[in-house]
């Protein structure tokens, strides 16, 4: 990627993570540790919601860090560090999702739940059946409903949402990460918001079960 001297200097000045990455380029192990500490939870969070499984998200995050290490000598400060990192993560996740799509047993909405072992749709079915003593939206249930709603988005919508919501990325940064135009990101996020609203609104109104994927 061709990067002008002035923009490289600008990113270096504005983004401390870019400065760390430049130290990593010069083989600083401490800088690499620091970057990993800063991003490991954020990266695993995004990847977990993308691929639907925590263990796999951790494996993919490790793969991303490995790629960062291997690409260190070619690194140029052509964007914010997070944009560069999530561009790599996007490719790693896309490869993983392609592999997952070839395995019919994997279902993003049917992942095990840390707190109980049942998935969101099971909980919602239970809630809708009236078998629950009270149909209060407790935190765990609502979290599972939201997770199912997010899983109901397309892969690209989901990534755009996660980068915007969790990473606070601008449309321009998301566009750079996902290799599309800012206008396309705007439409993608707009459709994602509408989809989320359509999935979640009935549940919030009367506890109706969101449609399964």
């Amino acid at each position: 990627m061709a990067v002008s001297e002035s923009s490289a200097q600008r990113y270096q000045l504005q983004d401390p993570d870019v400065r760390l990455m430049l130290e990593v380029r010069d083989d600083s192990a401490a800088a690499f540790d620091e970057l990993m500490l800063r991003y490991q939870n954020r990266l695993v969070t995004v990847l977990e919601h993308l691929v639907g499984r925590r263990d796999q998200a951790e494996d993919l995050a490790q793969e991303v860090f490995l790629r960062v290490y291997r690409a260190r000598k070619r690194y140029v400060a052509g964007a914010k560090f997070s944009t560069w990192l999530y561009t790599i993560a996007n490719h790693v996740a896309a490869n993983a999702l392609r592999s997952l799509s070839r395995r019919p047993e994997v279902n993003l909405t049917a992942r095990p739940n840390e707190s109980g072992g049942t998935n969101a749709l099971d909980r919602m079915a239970l809630a809708a059946s009236g078998a629950m003593p009270t149909r209060q939206l407790d935190k765990v249930e609502l979290r599972d409903v939201v997770r199912a709603a997010l899983a109901g988005l397309s892969e690209r919508q989901r990534l755009a949402v996660l980068l915007n919501k969790f990473e606070g990325m601008s449309y321009a940064d998301i566009a750079a990460t996902m290799e599309m135009s800012p206008q396309a990101v705007k439409s993608l996020l707009s459709r994602a918001r509408v989809n989320l609203k359509e999935i979640l609104e009935p549940y919030l109104q009367d506890g109706s079960r969101p449609p399964s994927n």
Binding site: E58, A61, Q62, L150, V161, K165, S187, K197, L204
Partner: protein, 167 residues
Amino acid sequence: MTEHENTQQDLHDELTAYLDGELDAEGVRRVEQRLARDAAYHAELRRLERAWNLLDRLPRAAVDERFAKTTIEMIAVAASHDAEAVQDSWPRRRRRQRLWGALGLVLAVVAGFGIGHLIWPNPNQQLIEDLPVLQNLELYYQADNIEFLRLLDSENLFSDGETDHAG
């Protein structure tokens, strides 16, 4: 996409960009003016915002120390493999360098021979050219007149079929 859907899409694009802080000042002013006078538009904004805010309920990962440790170990192993691969590539590189060196040497020898041949002609060349004269030297002595011999030569009388010039 129908005109209605198109309009709806534009509306949602505009509201989404407004909520994401991605509209310019003119866009913000336009949206806020409509929000003030259009209840349905305002209600749609609230619905979009409420669904979006629910994403805050999603869990955030917190990896343990094992994650960092295994990542560093994985990278150390990869770095070690990379270093081995570089070392393995050295003999191949050296072989390639030797091959190119040998090829260069051959080319230099061929070029040197050609240039030397141009600069220092073959000393036997003159003898080869004079061979027909040498073969008939006894006869030429008997003629005793160089002008006469040149005249005979101009008539091609010395040609033996292999050389057409006797000198």
